[in-house]
């Protein structure tokens, strides 16, 4: 080892020694490893004091992971959960389920066996390593989620006369036009200052190849452009084997279609392929976590008070069925209750912590599942998974990634609304939402959409009784003022969940937050 040559492992070991795991992570990132996650493996907690106890509030993924790891470390753990079901926002609705939203509207789900709606999370980025780690450990079978499908439609009321076009057509025309225009800018010597002669020539070659331009650097209706955007008559065999090119679109329509938004969307780190989903519905993850901690969970427990003092934490809760009021006492508390709910629970957390809890609003979102009698999107439109985008309130129609090519029904995601569109849909009755989803979704599949519709279900997150919203929405200002206060251990209580992370609104954020929270709480417990 004293030869003067330093191995990467030596350096990393040294960094781990002086700087701990955070420095090690930073170093690994700099050296080109592990750049996609902060997950460094499950926490190595051990040596809990004999008899030390933790009460966990909420049996969502953050709460159940905290309970699992803390009990492994030797703590006596108890979980209080408001719902009769564990999993929290990790949730699938199946045929036979009943869902009652705030305000009392009740839906009896009518999906055929094996079909489902994921009201909350529905796709998993390949770099969400914490979630993928525990899925593997807890035996959750995963399958690919078809994220990017060039055959899906793009619709805007302002483009192509309000008619949907295929993603590949609009995207190819956008790129072709940009390539041609940039080529003209180079021709007109507009980029002579920025680029050397040699680089200009290289860029011209790149633009020609990437944009499918002809020898004159023009994007035109021909077999070149059709290779990206598709053909009027695709290549075939025999007498009529020769392809006929498709007509390129007017550039004004291409710009108006907002196709660049959809193109840029797929470039986001969290939206890049490969993505995954559990076989049988996202709720399989919550069920798998619950199998690890089920004996610790008290269901139907509505927390009304959290009080900590020198001797421990006392949580007052009532049974939502019987109304019986009870208390749970423990040395420490991991609270994963969504902030909008926690804000209404009496507590003696520090004033700064209370301000932080009150300061972070929640987003709204609406998902609608529509069961269709047959998979017409596959049979008639050659669409296998992926999303058709629209400028209407429903935002998209997404096609199922399971049971492909099967006869019989399929369940589409008929809306994934946010912002103004989600408020509008959320304010409707469940029946009105289905009607709106059918009316708007018909733009992609006129003639078949309503005809094949069998039944549907909707979840408006602003009316979900146990969250009063979808996810915590931080901004730069609230992050600066409140984030560190929110995540800090407050004597015996620590908060965890997607709201206590920078991976907000993702299951990964909930899990990373949970691991960080219990690691700090364990340290605090050993110091006590």
């Amino acid at each position: 080892m004293e030869t003067g040559r330093t191995t990467r492992r030596q350096v990393l070991t040294a960094i781990g020694m002086v700087g701990g795991s955070a420095a090690l992570y930073q170093a690994m990132t700099t050296m080109g490893h592990a750049s996609e996650t902060q997950f460094a493996g499950p926490p190595k907690l051990s040596g809990a004091r004999t008899g030390a106890s933790v009460v966990v509030l909420g049996a969502g993924l953050a709460g159940m992971l905290a309970a699992y790891e803390l009990s492994k470390a030797g703590y006596k753990v108890r979980i209080l959960e408001y719902q009769a079901r564990a999993g929290g926002r990790n949730w699938s609705l199946y045929g036979g389920d009943t869902y009652t939203e705030l305000g009392g509207a009740t839906q009896k789900i009518g999906f055929a066996q094996g079909h489902y709606l994921n009201p909350g999370p529905w796709r998993i980025p390949h770099h969400h390593r914490t979630l993928l780690h525990y899925c593997k450990q807890f035996g959750v079978a995963l399958e690919p989620f078809i994220q990017f499908n060039h055959s899906c439609y793009v619709h805007s009321s302002d483009a192509f006369g309000g008619k949907p076009v295929r993603y590949r057509e609009a995207a190819a025309d956008f790129e072709g036009n940009v390539a041609e225009l940039l080529g003209k800018a180079i021709d007109q010597k507009s980029l002579d200052k920025e680029l050397s002669q040699e680089d200009r020539e290289k860029l011209m070659e790149a633009l020609r190849d990437w944009g499918m331009l002809d020898k004159d650097m023009r994007y035109k209706t021909n077999l070149l452009s059709s290779e990206h955007r598709g053909y009027e008559r695709p290549p075939g065999g025999g007498v009529d084997g020769a392809p006929i090119p498709s007509q390129i679109f007017n550039v004004h329509d291409v710009l108006n279609s907002n196709i660049w938004r959809n193109m840029a969307f797929f470039m986001n780190h969290e939206m890049q392929t490969t993505m995954f989903q559990p076989v049988g519905g996202m709720g399989m993850i919550g069920q798998a976590f619950a199998r690890q901690v089920q004996p610790m969970i008290t269901h139907n427990a509505k927390v009304s008070k959290i009080n900590q003092d020198k001797s421990g934490v006392t949580v007052t809760y009532s049974d939502t069925g019987t109304g019986t009021v009870s208390q749970a006492k423990a040395d420490f508390c991991v609270c994963t209750i969504p902030l909008g709910v926690l804000n209404q629970i009496e507590n003696n957390l520090s004033p700064a912590k209370k301000s932080a809890v009150a300061a972070v609003p929640y987003s709204n979102s609406v998902k609608i599942g529509l069961q269709m009698a047959r998979r017409f999107w596959e049979e008639d439109d050659y669409i296998y998974g992926g999303h058709s985008f629209t400028s209407q309130d429903i935002a998209l129609v997404s096609y199922p990634n399971y049971h492909l090519f099967k006869d019989g029904p399929g369940v589409l995601l008929g809306a994934f609304a946010s912002g103004a569109g989600a408020y509008r849909l959320a304010g409707m009755t469940p029946e009105q939402r289905i009607e709106a989803a059918l009316a708007q979704g018909s733009v992609f599949h006129p003639g078949t959409y309503r005809k094949e519709f069998q039944n549907g279900a909707s979840v408006a997150w602003s009316r979900v009784p146990w969250t009063l919203g979808c996810c915590a929405r931080w901004n730069e200002e609230t992050r600066k003022t409140h984030y560190q206060t929110l995540v800090a251990v407050d004597d015996r209580v620590v908060l965890a969940g997607e709201h206590a992370s920078y991976v907000g609104c993702w299951m990964e954020g909930a899990l990373l937050s949970s691991l960080d929270a219990i690691t700090r709480l364990h340290k605090r417990a050993l110091e006590a």
Partner: protein, 137 residues
């Protein structure tokens, strides 16, 4: 434990000078579509139906689950118009700040509407100018 060479220590010192990775605000999972082009609501009744009703319900009686969505019907806190205007602009707890979604004219319309409907009878309209003042515009 492995011995640490001088080169390794040099590497550590260099890394210590590396700034912490900048955090980009995460957007969460979204549809990836262009914002909705449905025409925005204008009158107080329209704004109520298309925004407020999502949580406060069509009858303005709110709801109750793990926590409460307060009723706006027969709500004495609406007597002072600054209270509802402030809540709509800034939000609090589960109530989202809607100052980005709604303009001052829409907020004035809907607060006036709520204060004169659902068993509330506070006749004096809230003006766009008053909302702008509260929004610091």
């Amino acid at each position: 434990m492995a011995k640490v060479t001088r080169a390794a220590w040099t590497a550590i010192l260099m890394l210590a000078a590396t700034p912490v990775l900048a955090q980009a605000p995460a957007a969460g999972d979204t549809a990836g579509s262009a914002p909705t082009k449905t025409p925005p609501p204008i009158t107080g009744a329209q704004v109520y139906t298309q925004v407020c009703q999502a949580c406060h319900m069509a009858d303005a009686k709110g709801g109750s689950g793990a926590a409460i969505i307060p009723a706006l019907a027969k709500n004495p806190r609406l007597a002072e118009p600054g209270y509802p205007v402030g809540m709509v602009l800034q939000g609090r707890g589960a109530m989202p700040a809607l100052g980005d979604l709604l303009d001052p004219a829409q907020i004035a319309s809907v607060v006036t509407y709520i204060r004169t409907h659902f068993g509330n009878n506070y006749r004096k309209p809230v003006t766009e100018a008053e909302v702008k003042l509260m929004a610091g515009q």
